[in-house]
């Protein structure tokens, strides 16, 4: 395995909106080597931001995410072949303008990173990757595409990525673009003029479990701030709030969306993480496939479950799971109070015998055994609109 560049050892990187976040009085944290807003206390803070997305709309700077473009070389098909080999979902099923959740795996069937694969054109794909794994991912893609007729470009610094998320996100964005958003279904994208900027990638994707869009605009500070401010201005009638990584985390946890180094990592395989439906074993060979065949035959040793605290206490990342007798059975990967449900929820790896709904699992919180129970996930599922739009 290649050595991982560890950006946390040097000064944290900044997105083009860093100065704006500081002017807004955001509380900043180092996230995966990036200096990012965790919440904006002046406009209400984490819980208010979370509720804005569930009830109306919020705006996130997610420019720390990375972008890798893979295009075919001389002959058609090279890019698709490379993407098929690099990722576990079936990219041959993508129409132009469509995106899919997927992941890049190690030969062991564990995670390099989870990604969203966008098909931009006939022989043109865009992989959106995580911030903390950016350098590793780019290196991994370059190393493993040498045998394919394709060109790999790291576009991570070319875009400011804004996530406009919430029940009223479409209504808001429609005011700023000529694109017909009602024609863009979930996990599809289009190109359109946004705030006067031509040919902007507008994807109906997100990491909140709510409706929403991610837009990719030029990464210079002036443009980034202009578009951010225009979205905030247009969102005023909806009570839009700027949202930080804190709300992003509680929103994605309620929706049971994986976070790298938590639910997925280089030690956890696809079956354990319960991401089977995004892994297409019959599509042909891909990195990690052979190990996943073996793992499937061997059976699961642990599986990801949703927990809800029954007793008083908040399960947090890396707390231990115990059985009734106090024996260590697993670990919490993410845990937090849920602002939507007003319950304390968590995701945890436990042996499959503890996975049935209603099973009692105990979480060790400051040397005390606190009772929880296995519940159905996702913890929160958005209402599908009745209308066909």
């Amino acid at each position: 395995m290649e050595s991982v560049n560890s950006p946390t050892n040097s000064a944290p990187r900044k997105t083009p909106l860093n100065a704006l976040h500081r002017r807004l009085g955001a509380k900043m944290v180092n996230f995966g080597g990036w200096d990012m807003p965790v919440e904006y206390p002046a406009t209400g803070g984490l819980v208010a931001e979370h509720k804005a997305v569930r009830g109306s709309v919020g705006l996130f700077d997610v420019s720390h995410m990375g972008d890798i473009r893979i295009r075919s070389g001389q002959r058609p098909g090279g890019a698709l072949a490379a993407v098929q080999y690099l990722t576990m979902n079936d990219a041959s099923k993508l129409a132009i303008g469509q995106a899919q959740y997927s992941a890049m795996l190690y030969p062991e069937g564990t995670f390099v990173d989870d990604v969203i694969v966008h098909r931009l054109g006939d022989d043109d794909y865009l992989l959106v990757i995580n911030a903390g794994t950016r350098d590793k991912d780019v290196g991994w893609v370059r190393e493993n595409t040498g045998n394919f007729d394709c060109k790999v470009e790291d576009l991570s610094d070319s875009f400011t990525q804004l996530a406009i998320q919430g029940t009223r996100a479409a209504e808001l964005l429609a005011k700023l673009t000529d694109a017909n958003l009602s024609a863009v279904k979930n996990y599809w994208f289009t190109h359109g003029t946004v705030c006067g900027l031509p040919n902007i990638l507008i994807a109906r994707t997100g990491y909140t479990g709510e409706d929403g869009f991610e837009i990719y605009i030029p990464s210079d500070v002036a443009t980034s701030e202009r578009v951010w401010n225009a979205v905030m201005e247009a969102g005023k009638p909806y009570g839009i709030l700027p949202c930080g990584l804190g709300a992003r985390n509680t929103l994605r946890l309620e929706a049971k969306m994986a976070l790298y180094e938590h639910e997925i990592s280089d030690k956890i395989n696809v079956w354990e993480a319960g991401l089977d439906r995004y892994c297409k074993m019959d599509k042909g060979d891909f990195i990690g496939r052979a190990a996943l065949e073996e793992a499937r035959a061997a059976g699961l040793k642990r599986t990801l479950v949703g927990l809800e605290m029954v007793e008083r206490g908040i399960a947090r990342d890396s707390y231990h799971c115990l059985d009734e007798s106090g024996r260590h059975i697993g670990v919490v990967t993410s845990g937090s109070p849920s602002p939507t449900l007003c319950k304390n929820i968590a995701l945890a790896y436990v042996p499959p015998s503890f996975a049935p709904l209603g099973t009692a699992v105990y979480v060790e919180i400051r040397q005390q055994k606190c009772k929880a129970q296995v519940v159905a996930t996702p913890f929160y599922k958005r209402q599908k609109k009745a209308s066909a739009s």
Binding site: K27, R316, S336, R366
Partner: protein, 133 residues
Amino acid sequence: MAYPTNYRYTKEHEWIDAQGGTAKIGITDYAQHELGDVVFVELPAAGKKVEQGKTFGSVESVKAVSDIYAPVSGEVVEANGELQSKPETINNDPHGAGWLIKIKLANPADVNALMDAAAYEKFISEQKKEASA
């Protein structure tokens, strides 16, 4: 928010309001700001001993857990029961209704060694400078 001049303060951002042999303990306005919306509080029961510099409870926001350290040693007389149903009181009134515990001081003179309001405000202004550097 003003820091009451009759309180004493610690570098871990607790305040103590000593009156004779007993004292109320809480977390400072600076601490509640750093933590964000408080959603959960865990406090010791009456009769428990607390030891200077040792943790006696915790205050949690959505995002984080913060251990609370005893500014001085003593025995818990009362824990603020209001906080169980209204933990946000710590955000709204950190130096008043958001108090955590009341203790019987083991040695009332210990309190005098802690920072006064002026020294604490100087301390946090330095912390803020470091954070924004």
